[in-house]
Amino acid sequence: MGTKKENIKTKTLGWLSIPAFVLLFLLFLIPLCLTLSNAVYSAEGGFSFSSLFSTFTSPYTLHVLGFTLYQALLSTLASVLVGLPGAYILANYNFTGKRLVKAVSTVPFVLPSILVVLGFVIFYGNNGILNRFLMKLFNLSNPPLHILYSFKAIILAHAFFNFPIIMNLVSTYWEHMDYHCEQAAQTLGADSWRTFWNITFPRLLPSILSACTLVFLFCYNSFAIIMVLGGGPQFTTMEVEIYRRARVSMDNQAAATISIMSLLVTCLLLVLYTHLQKASVQREQFTSGNIKSKKTVQGFWSKFLIFLYSIACALFVLGPLTSVIVRSFMASSSRSGALQFSLKWYRQLFGLVKGTGNMGSALSALQHSMAIALLVALISIPTSLTLATALKRKGFWSSALELLGMLPMAVSSVVIGLGYYLISSRIHSSGYIMVVLAHLIIAIPFALRSVVPEYRKIPPNYLQAAHTLGADELRIFLTIEAPLLKNSLLTGAMFAFALSLGELNATLTLSNSNIVTLPVIMYQLIGSYNYQGACALGTILIVISVTVFLLSEYLKGKENG
């Protein structure tokens, strides 16, 4: 009858995961402890909490914290406003272009933030494509939209980045909700509006809140968007403040104390997130049976609205990206000449022509970035596989371990970068090895997120069958579990690759000027107003990110089909 299945102990190969745990632990804890110790030990070697205390009570840091929370809240609200209608449409209707909306909405998941920044500058800037288009259309002499380098730009960019998260998480949850409750409400006499408010919305709420917490966490930790699009010290968040204190004012102690403060907040958010997620999983028992069939769109206005949303969604997401690609193929022939098609930036990038300024190191940055990302991806495969063996089982220890595995998500990449910066300044070495280690710590939790759910999906029957057929545990792991996880491991590794390739926050915080990666060069190019050069690098990032995304979708499709 299968009721006693939980009694069966298929022993896990716990020892397999020990090296990976030790690795993760050391890579994560050493820099973190160093950061923490910097907060309480002053440069002269004295131990005191005074610095911590003064930071926690200083009006300036409290103001920064307040602003960080405020912009994260507004960004989350904006993401919900844009994302929820999409979630409704995706979960309830079939329409032409649905696949496009779905595909487009997954794009920002894999985009590095520096690319978003660049896209925004190119698309929404005063001299950007949108403004020029509007100027031509309405025959204006001045750009009508002033979005960039302001609070608006920050919120808009965060919404761009995060509305797909809301849309995807909520619509997936919505789609899989058992529809019998709604049908029951309607047979009991509730109209469709009442059914939504009394039944559907309360059931959706935990999933909305959990998606919101995640988005809030991302916005809280946002770095490149604030640095560039905020355009000045009046918009400083905790992350930016940590970076400035460490790398501009060279005050490690202050940077460390702010890190601790920021860490406390993100830990709280993460606890809230795990709690909400558990609540939403517990409340609904997913059934595959009673899933409602999707309606086709009826009536002109609904068709029109859905069409409008799809177009807006595509424009909102694809506009900035397309303009990056278009811009990369343009150059002005003379100092003030009009832009025309040119491969100038690619020639500079691939070293065919000597690049000027930062473009000179673009090729080596590309090579370095590819090498780092490849290394990170390769290491992430065995690490996430063995870590997953420990995490797959539900129980006290595995949930404790899972939280530990998620900790690097709570600790922002700037804080990790700061830790590695402190290490490299101690041992007077700042090689690329530090970058690889920092990227590993950032990428592994994401790789794990792709592997662990798949691991948990493997029916215990497979392992029991293999066991009764004569396989021992190691054999089962090698011949049954690992092959079944092949695709999710590959997906995880590709995400690690993409993540490492686009990583800016930690890299910028830990590196000195002789370390160049693709995003760092892009950041410098944007800083020196060489947008076309940045666009050429950005196009390469887009191509790689989109390839990774398509490959992972393909693997997912193969798994389901």
């Binding site: 009858m1 009764t468 021992d472």
Partner: protein, 351 residues
Amino acid sequence: MDEKGLTCSIKASYPAFKLDVNFSVKKGSLSCIIGPSGCGKTTTLQLISGLIQPDEGFISLNGTDITQTAVNQRQIALVFQDYALFPQMNVQQNITYPMKLRKVPRSQMVERATMLLDLVSLPGYQKRRSSQLSGGERQRVALARALASEPELMLLDEPLSALDSQLRKHLRDEIRSLHDKTGVTMLYVTHDQGEAMAIADSIIVMNEGKIEQIGSPEEIYNQPQSLFVATFMGESNILPYDVIEQVLVSEGNDYVIFSPKDGEQTIFFRPELVTIQDDMSLPFPDYLPHLEFRNSSLLSCTFQGSFYYIVYRWQNYEIHATAQKRPKGPEATLGVRLTNILQFLDGKRIG
């Protein structure tokens, strides 16, 4: 202990119930464990396979004590209700998996896989994926895979319950013939008494973690040792013992001794043993000592295909019967031979 076959005597307790079973299965036989859901039959299989450990007791297989043997060393194959075919492997890879573990040479593996596929009537299925197979085909592959491990004992955990009834009948006969061809000892769990009676050499009836009765299908059906077994294995009529006084028809009175006892005493008989006299102009067809329930009124009559299932009311009791023809009138006299009646006292068989 030196008896060939499976002998087990195991105790295990769980939050919901206690399991305490004691039985043996002859080498080369096909035995069924049957019982209502939650009676512990699946748990018993898992204990024997070694996937879970008993609190106390022993399990011996062909003279060897295997209580402490690891699952993968036991030579006991388990066939699952949901097949558990490895999805990343094709049919042949699934079947050769246990042979690979036993380091069988490659050429021999392929040959044996082909032979096993022929045996389960799936010739040429080597390269198929499990996702391309129907439920019945999957279960055949699972059977072939289990046989490929050359088990000393094969456990089958409700192997047919996910299939539709037509296919279930067909496949249960195939499992029986598979057993006869290979001679492997099989222990088969089911909750379907028809399935158990059709294929088993012996049946083990379980209830609430305990064994109620072990015996051949005929013994279990005709000579149940408890009311539970009697009612679980088929349709039944249960009446209080004292009705005998009113309905007994016996020519030589010395033939029957009416002997009521303390406790809940009942009589039991199967519906197919009830004779219906619905034409009062004819004499009652039975002259041996019997019980006669006069003036029974017809409650319902349902057509079952090869017979009619009829329910009468006699006084305050319902009496179930079967017949080849639809009853002619609303009233009838029902008769049962005394030799067809079983007696139970507090649920246990007496007399």
